[in-house]
Amino acid sequence: MATIRTRSRIRELLLRLSAYLAILVALILTLFPVYWIAANSFKFDIDIFAVPPEWVPRNPTLKHYDEAFVQRPFLRYALNSFLVAVGTTAISVTFGTMAGYALARFSYPWQWRKQISFWILSTRMMPPIVSIIPLYLFFNYFDMLNTKSALVIAYTAFNLPFATWMMKSYFQDLPVELEEAAIVDGDTRWGAFLHVALPLARPGLAATAIFCLIISWNEFLLSLVITLTEQSQTLPIGIAGRVTQYSTYWGEISAAGFMACVPIVIFAFIVQKHLVRGLSLGAVKG
């Protein structure tokens, strides 16, 4: 009896040790690349190329930040990214919230609810490369290439289904009696949505908005095709543009890349409770 208990205690201890070891290794592997790009963004070029590598910047400098954001138009790119992300998010969250609510609450004839939900989800599954050619030709036709509005329209195509599904799942979590109570208390159906459902879904709304911001901020392919001018290009395109066939401006792209990551990491911490739901389009509730 005693030996069994000892053995299981040893087993438990081993399990615990290996778990903590695994967490440690995973943390190092996860964070090192992020650290590495941050570290290199603060090094002089010569230190970036140092062999053996300089693990911690010995002569930290903001030179590359100056290059990227003052001498080169990365501030402009970042602003474009920001404006496009905000525009896309505003449209997607506004209409997605209404549609998500409708799909969560109302019934429709002929199984529309199911069909429309399914269709909206499948538009989210569509690879961007598929819509890129018609969008390009379309924006070309209307002379909208190289505009931020074109980017907002293109990004809405996949952020709107996302927002709809997210909000649908948040609204489905709310007890319907609260809105019914509001209706009996003298509110309209719309009023019950506005005064009761919406305030209660606020955390979900915020999470959805942040996810939309992240998705838009990170987008690359559509922007690559639609925008060619400094006035309209987003941050990822700006970064990619400094990786050329002949040389790569390591310091500069490290600085810009790191700055592109900072808001995302902050956002990730804000929405950490909603990560699971956001990443599974509302299908898994974390």
Binding site: I91, I133, V243
Partner: protein, 307 residues
């Protein structure tokens, strides 16, 4: 004490009256309409337009008219060796990357489930990679893979192993792409599996333990079946994402060396813009669209995701 202060309803608000009544009656359609219309415009229009483009030869010169070629562009899919390479690369990448991510993510989740619940902060740290802009991930790994001064070769050197060209090496290029993708997306599987594990009921395990089932049996008989819906969703999303791989390849290898990492998205992009042949690119896009629709419909129908 509390006297009723209302008689019957005001006349103006009787049945059939006014805008408010109409709005209430049609609210279900009014709230859904903007989204449906926007998405119709942004999906149906491109699809139809793409069909139109796919049956034409489109000259890079916008002044020249489109030349109708019927199914010519689709026929090229059968004979275009580069397309077949891209197809195979995409399949290899998708299968390898998603399998690795799944095994790693599930394994880590099973190992850490009991220990990480109180470590919410650490958990969020582990989630960082998948939130990052793919372009930032790509340049980060480009920096790590750099043959001359990259940190990976430095580590190889320290370990006494031969240094490699990594993304520049014919045999290692695809592997390098996969590693970067696994780095970015394993946390996704890990997170979803943790969520699935957290929602497992306790009683069946207690019953199984009483029945004398080993932990291995418990995993096969209880954990895996319970996790099945979450696994399906995770795999669906990962597969759909892997099929559209673009950013990593664009930055790390540009499709090379020797087309070893040329994936479908990249090839379509090249055909459309570098080779200025949007008609053929449209035909390929339709093929990709067809594959994703079949795959995702099959998946979603099976999982009843639309519910």
């Amino acid at each position: 004490m509390l006297k009723s202060d209302k008689g019957t309803m005001p006349k103006s608000l009787r049945p059939g009256g006014g805008l408010e009544h109409w709005t209430e009656r049609h609210l279900r359609y009014l709230m859904l309409a903007p989204t449906v219309l926007i998405l119709l415009a942004l999906t149906i229009f491109p699809s139809v337009y793409m069909f139109y483009a796919a049956v034409h030869r489109i000259s890079p010169n916008p002044d020249l008219p489109w030349e109708f070629v019927g199914i010519g562009n689709f026929a090229r899919l059968l004979t275009d060796a580069q397309f077949h390479v891209a197809l195979r690369n995409t399949a290899v990448f998708t299968i390898a990357a998603v399998t690795l991510e799944f095994l790693l993510g599930l394994g880590l989740a099973l190992l850490l489930d009991r220990f990480i619940r109180r470590l919410g902060f650490l958990k969020t740290m582990l989630m960082i990679p998948m939130m990052l802009p793919p372009i930032a991930v790509a340049i980060t790994w480009k920096l790590i893979y750099e043959p001359q001064f990259g940190v990976l070769n430095e580590i190889m050197f320290l370990l006494g192993l031969p240094v490699q060209a990594w993304a520049g090496d014919v045999n290692l290029a695809m592997f390098s792409i996969i590693v970067a993708d696994v780095w970015q997306w394993t946390p996704f599987i890990f997170l979803l599996m943790l969520a699935g594990l957290a929602s497992l009921p306790v009683e069946p395990y207690e019953a199984a333990a009483l029945d004398g089932a080993s932990s291995w049996r418990q995993f096969w008989d209880l954990t895996l079946p319970f996790l099945k819906p979450v696994i399906a969703i995770a795999l669906l999303l990962r597969v759909m994402d892997a099929l559209r791989l673009f950013d990593l390849v664009f930055i790390l290898t540009g499709g090379g060396p020797a087309d070893r990492t040329k994936v479908l998205s990249l090839y379509i992009y090249q055909v459309a813009y570098r080779f200025a042949d949007p008609g053929y690119a449209a035909a390929m896009s339709l093929f990709v669209l067809f594959v994703t629709i079949v795959l995702s419909t099959w998946f979603m129908k099976r999982m009843r995701l639309a519910e």
